[in-house]
Structure formats: C-alpha cells, structure tokens
C-alpha cells in the first residue's frame, strides 16, 4: 500500500507543474507574443523560420538568433504553424491572455525528409492466426466481473472456477500454465499453476481483450500450448487535452460495488508526452445460491496503474506500472479437513455451514498482490523497420490463510499466512520488425526471463531460481489472395530448486537439483482470401511447456482440495502439435459465420493421476494424486454465427464442442469442458431524441453434462446439464455533450439451481443465483481543448 502512495505522489508532482498553467481569462487587445524558434535536438537557434497565426492570417520570421515577435493581439485561442526549410512543420495551439514569451522547439532534420512517410507506414501485425476479440458490447456487459468472465464471451473459451470470485480461463480444454496471458505486451508471471489462482489482471485496464487460439510458442515463448490471451490498454491520447472515464457497477448478488476511473492527457506545451492514470475499487459481500447464502464469499480489490508515453516520429518510450491487490474469502464449507469431511459435505443437501450476509472476510482467505512495471522503447530503423526493446519487472505475492488458525497463541498473534509465495520476474525482449520487402515482412527477436520464487509457511512448492532465453524469427509472405507465415524459435530454460526433502523420522535434508530444458518450435500458416466474403486459414503450430515447479516438486496437502499431491522430478517437457482450420464467411453485411476446427496431439501431457489408495496421516485419510505424463488428443470445433434480420433484430449463436482423449490410458481425459451452446436475440432501438445505441437482448446458455470422464476418478460424479437465461440492455444518452452509457443486466434470470462441472465448489454448493447488475459509464472530456486558458 505504501508503494501505491509513493507512485501516486510521483505522478501528482510530475503532472502538477503542467496543470498549474490553467488560469482564468481576461480581455484586452494589446498583447504581445514573442519568443525563439529552437532546434529540438542541438538547441541551436533557427533562422528564417516562419511563424504563422492562422486566425489572424499574419506571419513573422525569426531572425539570426531565432527570435520572433507579434504585437497588438487580442486575447484568444490561436493556432500557430511554424515552418522551417529543414524541419517538419510544427503546429501548436496557444491560449493568449497576457504578454507571452513562447519558445518553439522544432525538429530539425537536415536531409532526412523521408521520415514522415516512413513512420506513416504501419507495420503489420505479426501473426496469421485468427484473433477473436471480446466485442465492445460484451466487454461492457462483463464490467465489474473478473477477466475470466469477460473471456467466456469468446467461443471455445470457458472458465475453471473456484466459486464466484476466482475464474481461470480455459482455451480448448486447457488452462493454468498452458494458457499465456499477455498483459500490456508482457507475459503475466504469477502463480499460474494453481487451479484456484486466477490471473491477476484488472479488466478495467483493457479496452481490448482478445484470444489467439492454438499453439503459439514462436512469438510468445514456451507455455503457449492452448493459446494466448491478449489484454491491451487503449492507445495513449494523441491530441492535446485531458479526458477520462468513470465506471460504476452495482450488483445485487453479493451487494457488490465496483468503481473505476481513468484520466489521461496530453499537453500543448509538450507534444511528445502523454500520460494516463487509472484505478479500480471493488467490494463484494457474501454471494447467494438460489436457496442459501455462501458464507465467507466476500472479496475486495484495489488496483492502480499509470502510463507515460514519449513519442516522436522515429522513436518513443512507454512506461507502464500497475498494481493489483485483492483479498478473497474462500467459501467456508469448501475448506475441509479430510476425506471423511469431504464425504459428509457431498452427502449434505445444503452446505454444512451457512450464515448471514456480510462484507467481512474471515479464514479461510487469500490475499494476492501483483505489480507490473514495464518500460518499452522503440526506434524506427530507417525505412525498413522498427526496433523495440522492452524491460518488465513483475512481483507476485500470494498469501493463503487456512480455515484453522494455529493452536499456539504466539503463532496466532503473528497472523502469518499458512502458505506464502513470492515470485519476482524480470524480462527483456529485443525485437526487430521489418517492413514489406519483396512481399515479405517479419520479425526477429530475442527474449529472456529470470525468476525467483520463495515460500514461507507450509511447504507446497519449493524455492527456485530460473533463467529462460529464447530466439525467434517469423516471416510472412503476402501476394494477392494468399498469405503464408512461418516461424521458428529456440528456447532454453534453466532452473534450480531449493528444497527440504523428507528423509524419515522428522529429519529433512536440503537438496538443490538443477533442471534444464531446451526446445525448438515452429509454426506454419496459410490464409486464402477469396474476396472480402471468404477467408480460409490453416495453421500448423507447435508449442512446448517445461513441467512447472508444482508438477515437479509439489509434495503435500492441498488444503482447499483435500488432496495430497505428489510431483515427479523426472517429468519431461510436454509438446503439442496442433492444427487449426478456420473458415470465416461473410457473404453480406447481414451474415457472419465462423467455423474453427482444431486438433491437438500432445505428447507427454502432464496431469494429476488419482492413485488407488488413500494415504493415512494423522489428519485422517486423503486421496492422493501423482503427476504423470501421457499422450493426449484434443479434437474440437468452435462455431459462431451472427445474422442481422433487419435493422432492429439480430441473432447470435455459438457452440463449442470438445473431445479429449487419453491415448496411453485409452480413456477420456478429466477436467475437460462439456459441450456448450449459446443463443442470443438482440433488439436494437431506433434513435430517440438524445438516446441512442440502445438495445435489449435475451440470451440462453445450454451446458451438457460431462459424461466423458474416466470412471471412479473423481470425488463426486459430474453434475447434470443446465440451462441459463440472461438479459442485457444498454443505452447511451447525451448530457452536456458527454455520452453517458447506462446498462442493465440480469444474470441467471430464472434463479436456477445448477452446478458446473468446472467449478471446484460444485462438490459443496450450487452456483450463485439471480444477479441484477447496473452499469454506468461517464466520460469526462474536460479542460484544455479550446476552452482552457494559458498564462
């Protein structure tokens, strides 16, 4: 928290100087404007520059010392254009209220006249794989919820939940370490291995969330087996002014409130510089299932971020810092002592513990902090490309408190978490992207990450230090209707473990083994575009993932799961070879169909295999699981259809199917999403007076029962299929030129009682019931732009 204040303080001091300049107007017509025209780079005076005031249609020319002067001007706002033969023209807006001295800094580019054209050429995005975005409308509807909930709107993406507040995205049946989250261009490095560890990202940072499905190790490095989630912030403001946005969300279930605000700007005086500051506060109380309250399910969150940009036409620097802090109550009745407790919990119709509504969070709970600092700089390398260098530091802290406080009072007073992990990562990427050259464009890059993990409290995963390095190259060829892309990457990973190994009789020995992994991956894709109506793409990708530290070394009781988990330090890297065939057909503006079929062949697929006998400890018997490897095949299909019947009515339909097979064991794979079907009908209202873009939609989701599971491998059989109905509506209206957006949704309209196979709380409780959500978005377009006044 202290750090947060320090960052806010820095930000305020930096921006205050600039903001202080705003004063109130006076009216007299005898003002003067004078100053110097100076070379931006070597600070030399520029002679013979012309200074032109648009509004007054007058010019002045700078003398040999760069000085210029205008006299007898009325107060007002003026657009001024400065020209020099060797420079790019410079335009600035000036608010004149008194005699002013104004120096203009011009970019002086002797013999570099091509610069403008070069920077105007957009460098193509470096992937041929089809990207699916969460639409702006759906992103709005999911405001106030977690990142996982927002991602569910993409076909083929589901979530692995631990109740209401912890939601991990699943792409094509795979989750945790197999899904990469790229937050603002940086690989999110948290404790992803845990199934109750959700990505530590504030969705309000993003103005775009998208998913690239399929293996994609070449561009993003190891672990991108299932796909990549891209969380992107809005580009920085490119014109002078200050603007912002306030979001307020209220929810009935959990009596939850979320507020998020963002303010960004750019100053007339400093064209290259832009800034943004953003923060979110969330408070949830205990949520309810249709028939009872789920005790201790409250949570709170406070997030803060700022971004600074310095952009010139051939180089730039971006700085981004964000902080994510949350405290999550864990549903009390889900935290059980041993197998007997678990069996009692299953038998019970309603959870064994229930209680009144409260905002208070008690044991068991988690507290998580995540910090990201990023500095990115780029340089245009002449006409042919762009070189970018990115450094990022991430710090992830996770506290887990057991239900049970220690018996010893001296330990109680320390109030130490029972499990604590601290993960610090530093990463650097150097990438050179080149522009079209004989139908080719592409990129080449190197990247490195170094990480250190330490724990305190109970042992679950050991301390480790790891170093990773990678080098890659991607080339893309485009001619007429065809595009081809190929990429290759080499990675090396080194990891040293520090751990106390149990010998016998309460004796432990410190061991520090070293693991090394290396891999070559490749990618080959082709797109055929017949015309704008048909787009067929075929992509072969391969990706790999080194076994994560929990798979290698976890040893002990996973309390929330009432299971003993044993890692295996002999595990090999797993690798997928994946093919995705996507057809996007848009015969008219009314219809859009996308069908995507995929097949993953995964060798050495790592999973938790239940062992036959429970292990007896002093706490009773526990089921035990061993991490093992198998060969697996995942075959599936995602379908999306959007049809605009007329200007008012629109229907959307989605389906995602998956068959996951364990080839070695000749059986189904556990923990895979069942088939899902969704349909939505939207009615868009005509514009009425000041109210526009209003709509009302009704949607239904049908999730089938997951019967494709190996027999006797789970504590309880998969729950039955369910239907859910949701209603969404939204409208925007103008008040004083501000476009205010008001949205309203009802989730689980019929207050259905259901349990989802991929919710870990399904063993203990029904999922949450009806939830009314109100959302309000107020943009702030304030200050400066034409209205503000300068000294």
């Amino acid at each position: 928290m202290r750090k947060l204040y320090v960052h806010i303080f820095f930000f305020i001091t930096a921006t205050n100087f600039l903001a202080q300049q705003i004063l109130l107007p006076k009216t007299e017509c005898n003002l003067s404007l004078q100053g110097k025209v100076i070379d931006e780079h070597d600070k030399s005076a520029l002679e013979l520059a012309t200074i032109y005031i648009k509004e007054l249609n007058t010019t002045a020319t700078s003398d040999e010392n760069g000085n210029y002067e205008f006299k007898n001007i009325c107060p007002g706002i003026y657009n001024i254009k400065i020209n020099h033969f060797n420079c790019q023209p410079l335009e600035e807006k000036i608010v004149l209220t008194k005699n002013t001295v104004k120096n203009f800094f011009q970019e002086h580019h002797a013999n570099q006249l091509n610069q403008v054209e070069v920077s105007a050429k957009k460098i193509e995005e470096q992937s041929i794989q089809i990207r699916n975005d969460v639409s702006a409308e759906k992103l709005n509807q999911s405001k106030g919820q977690s990142l996982g909930e927002a991602l569910k709107n993409i076909t083929g993406v589901t979530t692995l939940n631990t109740g209401n507040s912890i939601s991990k995205p699943i792409i094509h049946g795979m989750h945790s370490n197999r899904v990469l989250v790229i937050n603002n261009g940086i690989r999110q490095e948290g404790q992803q291995w845990g199934i109750e560890h959700a990505p530590e990202v504030d969705p309000f940072i993003a103005n775009k969330i998208s998913v690239i499905k399929g293996a994609n190790s070449v561009r993003y490095g190891s672990d991108a087996i299932a796909g990549v989630i891209l969380v992107e912030a809005k580009p920085m403001r490119d014109s002078a002014g200050i603007s912002g946005e306030v979001n307020l969300v209220g929810m009935s279930n959990g009596k939850a409130g979320t507020s998020s605000a963002c303010l960004e700007g750019k100053f007339n005086e400093l064209k290259a510089f832009s800034w943004r500051v953003q923060g979110t506060l969330k408070q949830y109380g205990t949520v309810s299932a249709p028939n009872y309250i789920l005790i201790n399910t409250g949570s709170n969150e406070y997030n803060f971020s700022y971004a600074l940009g310095w952009k010139k036409e051939n180089y730039g620097i971006d700085i981004f810092y964000s902080q994510f802090n949350t405290t999550l109550g864990i549903f009390g009745a889900s935290h059980i002592g041993n197998l007997s407790d678990l069996k009692n919990a299953f038998k019970s119709e309603i959870p064994l513990e229930t209680g009144p509504f409260t905002y208070e969070i008690v044991r068991p709970f988690q507290h998580i902090e995540h910090e990201l600092f990023k500095a990115k700089s780029y340089l245009l390398t002449g006409e042919n490309g762009k070189l970018s260098l990115t450094y990022a530091r991430q710090y992830n802290l996770r506290y887990e408190y057991d239900k049970h406080r220690p018996l010893d009072d001296s330990l109680v007073n320390l109030d130490k978490p029972d499990l604590q992990f601290e993960l610090t990562s530093h990463s650097t990427d150097l990438i050179w992207e080149h522009n079209s050259f004989k139908h080719f464009n592409g990129s080449i890059g190197v990247s490195g990450i170094t990480q250190g993990n330490t724990y305190e409290g109970r042992v679950l995963i050991p301390n480790f230090r790891s170093h990773n390095g990678g080098i890659f190259m991607i080339e893309r060829w485009r001619k007429n209707r065809f595009e081809l892309e190929g990429g290759v990457r080499y990675d090396y990973r080194w990891m040293q473990i520090y751990k106390y190994q149990y010998i016998a009789n309460a004796i432990y020995e410190l061991i520090s083994p070293i693991h090394k992994f290396e891999n070559i991956t490749g990618n080959l894709g082709a797109i055929f575009k017949k015309d704008s109506t048909l787009n067929i793409s075929l992509n072969f990708g391969s990706a790999w993932r080194a076994p994560s530290v929990n798979e290698l070394y976890s040893n002990g009781l996973h309390h929330g799961a009432a299971a003993l988990e044993f890692g295996n330090n002999k595990l090999q890297s797993e690798r997928t070879n994946n093919i995705i065939f996507t057809t996007r057909y848009t015969p008219s503006k009314k219809l859009m169909v996308e069908i995507s079929t995929y097949y993953h062949y995964i060798t050495n697929f790592i999973y938790r295999k239940p062992s036959l006998y429970p292990i007896v400890t002093i706490h009773g018997a526990f089921p035990s699981f061993n991490y093992t490897q198998t060969d697996a095949s995942l075959l599936g299909c995602d379908f999306y259809l959007n049809y605009k019947i007329n200007k008012q009515f629109e229907i959307t339909s989605k389906a995602s199917l998956l068959r996951a097979w364990d080839i070695t064991e000749n059986n189904w794979l556990m923990m895979m999403p069942s088939d899902r079907y969704e349909a939505e009908i939207i009615y868009r209202f005509k514009k009425y007076k000041k109210i526009n873009s209003s709509y009302l939609s009704a949607s239904t989701l049908f999730v089938t029962k997951q019967w494709r599971v190996p027999a006797n491998s789970d504590f309880a059989p998969p729950p039955r299929e369910y239907f859910l109905f949701n209603i969404h509506s939204s409208c925007s209206f103008k008040i004083k030129n501000q476009n205010i957006e008001l949205g309203f949704s009802i989730f689980n309209l019929l207050n259905q009682t259901y349990r989802d196979y991929l919710d870990r709380f399904r063993y203990f409780t029904d999922a949450i019931g009806k939830n009314y959500v109100v959302r309000l978005t107020v943009p702030l377009n304030i200050l400066i732009n034409n209205k503000s006044i300068k000294k």
């Binding site: 930096a14 005086e269 041993n338 407790d341 064994l352 049970h404 230090r465």
Partner: protein, 189 residues
C-alpha cells in the same frame, strides 16, 4: 515554464520509476526457511490408559506421523490392547515431535477447549467411552475419558478431533472440520 524543464521533470520521474521498481528485489533466491520454523504440525497421538483397578498399570498406544500433513504415511500405528470387561481412564496426548523440545499440542487444545471435541466411535469388540472433562460451556472435550471395554475380541476405535470454532460447538460431532482422525485397531483380551 520552459519545455526543457518539463523534460527534466519527466526524465527524473521516469528514472525514479525505474529505480523504485527495481529497488526491493533480491537477486538471490534465499534458501527455504528451516522446516522447524514451519507452522505448527501435529505429528503424534499418544493414548495413555490407566487401569482403574490398579493405577500403576499403564498402557500406551501410539500413532506417529512424523511429517504430519506432509503426505508421507505413518511410521507407528499401535493397536489398543486392553483387558475385557474392565474400566480404564484415558488421557489423550497430542504432540508435535518436529519441534525441539517437542511441542505438546494437547495443552493448546485444552486452552481452546470450547472450540474442540474428541469423538470416539467403537466398532466390533472395543469399548464404551464416556468423556469426563468439560469446557467452559459445560460441553464435553474428550482429552480425558473413561473406557468400559467389551468382551474379548477384535474391533476398532475411531478417534476424531473436531475443530468447532465460531460457536459451532454444540456437544455433537457433526459440525466443524476434522483436525485429527485415527482409526485404531482394538484387541480386547
């Protein structure tokens, strides 16, 4: 204010951001904390029976699981061997043997007696158990009990320690979560 002053502030700020962000990292991963400092463990349950007719006749039965919840199985699991149709007094002793000197957890349990309950479930030839100690709310605790053994034969006695905090304790075994659960073999001779 002049443009270069802005720049100066800006650069200073960026530099400070970088320094601040990097400041607290340790580049070396520490060795893990000694296992002896780990949060408290429960490793052993010792049953101390006193013959009601002869107090110098003391019988022990012990369950030892030296890594507690660590996931390795027990190293000692005695049967309870008692004479038939007799009365014994039982003291339950719970220990953390990883600490030096060893930590008697049962003292802590006694301190928090109102949040804890031992439950005894016999099966086959075993004993009828009557809890003799009470907590501040006059609910049974179970650190001390009276055992009336059955006729000769083999059976089981399941001993469970329930943690019933936050006012859950009502004298029955259903509420709360299990701290300890050991199902002893009984040999009544």
């Amino acid at each position: 204010m002049k443009s270069n002053q802005y720049k100066l502030i800006l650069y200073a700020f960026m530099l400070l951001s970088v320094i601040w962000a990097c400041k607290k990292d340790e580049d070396q991963v520490k060795l893990p904390p000694s296992i002896l400092n780990s949060p408290e463990l429960i490793t052993s349950m010792v049953l101390r029976f006193t013959d009601s007719t002869n107090i110098s006749n003391i019988i022990f039965a012990e369950f030892r699981d030296p890594d507690g919840r660590g996931g390795n199985s027990y190293t000692k699991f005695d049967s309870i061997k008692l004479s038939s149709n007799k009365t014994y007094f039982l003291n339950v002793i719970i220990l953390d043997e990883t600490k030096n000197p060893l930590d008697t957890i049962s003292k802590e349990i006694l301190k928090e007696a109102k949040d804890h309950l031992f439950c005894f479930t016999p099966l086959g030839s075993s004993a009828v158990v009557t809890i003799t100690d009470k907590d501040e709310n006059n609910n049974p605790v179970g650190l001390q009990s009276k055992w009336r053994t059955s006729s000769a034969g083999n059976g089981f006695m399941k001993i469970v320690l329930k943690h019933q905090a936050n006012g859950l304790k009502n004298g029955t075994c259903s509420p709360g979560e299990t701290d300890i659960e050991v199902n002893f073999n009984t040999k009544i001779q």
